[in-house]
């Protein structure tokens, strides 16, 4: 009796994924805006500007992913490399 959609779970449906994306963007936007209410208190002087932690999180993770991508070109080998 099952239609194709009935077998699908929450995460299988495209509209749910879209909603999750909206949630993620929304949460990030709210957190970034929170800096207007709670200005970041820097510890060292260079870290006290608006949105410091949001920017740090975004930029450092993007950099780590790109770095690992570059490292991957040099380091990745087939699974049976050592066999």
């Amino acid at each position: 009796m099952s239609t194709p959609d009935a077998n699908k779970d929450f995460f299988d449906k495209a509209e749910n994924i879209r909603k999750l994306w909206i949630c993620l963007y929304g949460v990030c936007a709210l957190l970034a805006l929170a800096d207007f209410l709670l200005p970041t208190k820097g510890h060292f002087g260079f870290d006290g500007f608006w949105g410091f932690y949001s920017i740090l999180g975004f930029v450092s993770c993007a950099a780590l992913i790109l770095l690992s991508k570059v490292a991957g070109f040099l380091l990745k080998v087939p699974e049976d490399y050592y066999e």
Binding site: A34, H43, Y53, C61, L64, I65, L67, V77, Y81, Y82
Partner: protein
Amino acid sequence: MSSIPPAVIFILGALLVPLFRDKSKNIFIIFLPIAAFYLITQLETGSFWHYHLYGHDLTLLRVDKISKAFGYIFTINAFAAFVYAFYLKDNTQHMAALFYVGSSLGVVFSGDLISLYFYWEIMAVSSTILILARRTQRALNAGMRYILVHLFGGLCLLAGLVFHVSQTGSVSFDAMTQQSLGTVLMLIGILVNAAAPPFSAWLSDAYPESTVTGGVILSAYTTKTAVYTLVRGYPGWEVLIIVGCIMTIYGIIYALLENDMRRILAYSIINQVGFMVVGVGIGTTMSLNGTIAHAFCHIIYKALLWMSAGAVLAMTGRSKCTDLGGLYKTMPWTLLFGVIGALSISSFPGTSGFTSKTLIIEGSIQEHLAWVWMVLEIASAGVFLHAGIKFPYFVFFAKDRGLRPGEANKSMLMAMGFLSFLCIFLGVYPQPLYAILPFEVNYQAYTLHHVVNQLQLLMFSALVFFLFLPLLKRTETVSIDTDWFYRRGGHFFYRMVDKGLNGLNEIAERVFAVRFPEVLGKVSREFPWRLSLLIVKPVWILRGSGPEELEAKRDALRRSLDVGAAPVGIGAAVATAFLLLFFILTDLL
């Protein structure tokens, strides 16, 4: 009762394991960490069991807040791991695990370097058995590499210990104050166990090859006894700040490249131990507290993560991200517990990582170490990428591979539930943890600023993960790590030695076995003949022999010398000539 070394319970208990059958075996094993935990609560501070051995004062039991803190978590984790392994009836694994946990308790409660070294080596051997217990060829090979690396580390420790003891005359184990060959060698030996690059590859090589429960147990003890030893012996050694920072970033990069879920978790151990090593390097009361608190919480959430990965491996028989996905449909509890572990390792507010790791970060702020603080914050964001999201996402969500395994068995779920509870409990109410730390904690993790900043860091990290998802697509690859030098480099070395030494052998054979006897034979044949000729030829010429006659006589002489049929006179003449030559030469010289 107040002075029984806790290691004794596990080591004696291990010997009794084969006497028990079926469920009573597992119940007995679960009882041991409970007894040891109770014993540790009852231990009085001080040193006990002093022995004088070969001119050295051994202290078999030293109890203070540092050793107790590690003792508590080692026994709590052992309890959870043995509940998890309730289905397991394999004596080998149980006995190895008990020896392993017991000897790591031995390390943290040893008052001197010699007994510490003794337990250190028992740990190396028993942990190897936990890897071999999977009984696959890959595990066997990985186990052999593992023990070789640890024997190397153990030898560094032993050599350093010998230098240190002969220099200072004392075997007591306290903070090392001077940099000498001895203390540096010991530090290298300890850093091998802490999985600091370049001695780190053993961890990601061996742990993922261990059994389902072996991985859970292994993840806790070797690296954390190393952290304990650093806290005790090397607080404030600034080189550790650099080593720790490298470990945090190194762990993230490799974990991002990995495909096997247990190898991802293995690399994230290196990343997390990096934070602890930085804390030791900073060496203030705040950062040392942070290191111990973080080791405590890390053991819990890392065991939890290994348990959830182990449950997936046990139920599906797969461990590669490219083979897994969509498991949330049939393993919701394993997913839930795995996510709690993943949030804890990422120091999400409300979990134990948040209340422990921030002590180390606060330590770097108090010491005005701006670049260290930056690295730790970047690494914190990166943890959420590689362990916080990547592990649960690729295993439980991502692409549905059509796998429909059942939920993990009850004992596994109970153990995971217990550790999940601890993760959240210590996340919202860290006071019991702070109370067992060696120094007083005057720190409040939950300020509005701190929570918001941490959430900003983590949620933007999550955003990057999903935006960059195409770049993170899993490939069926492994990554070259420092084990290349002994896995591939070993082959090169073998070939080089093969060519070099066997080449030398060949040359030696050509020269000494073939050519030299040839020359020697020729000389011993030619020399008497030429010498005789030298003497008799003038005589023949004086007698008036013609050239043809001379030729014939020469050949005749040669033949008779070859067969040893020379007339006695000639032999005597040669001997006389030889003696004459000898005397002339000795006289001249």
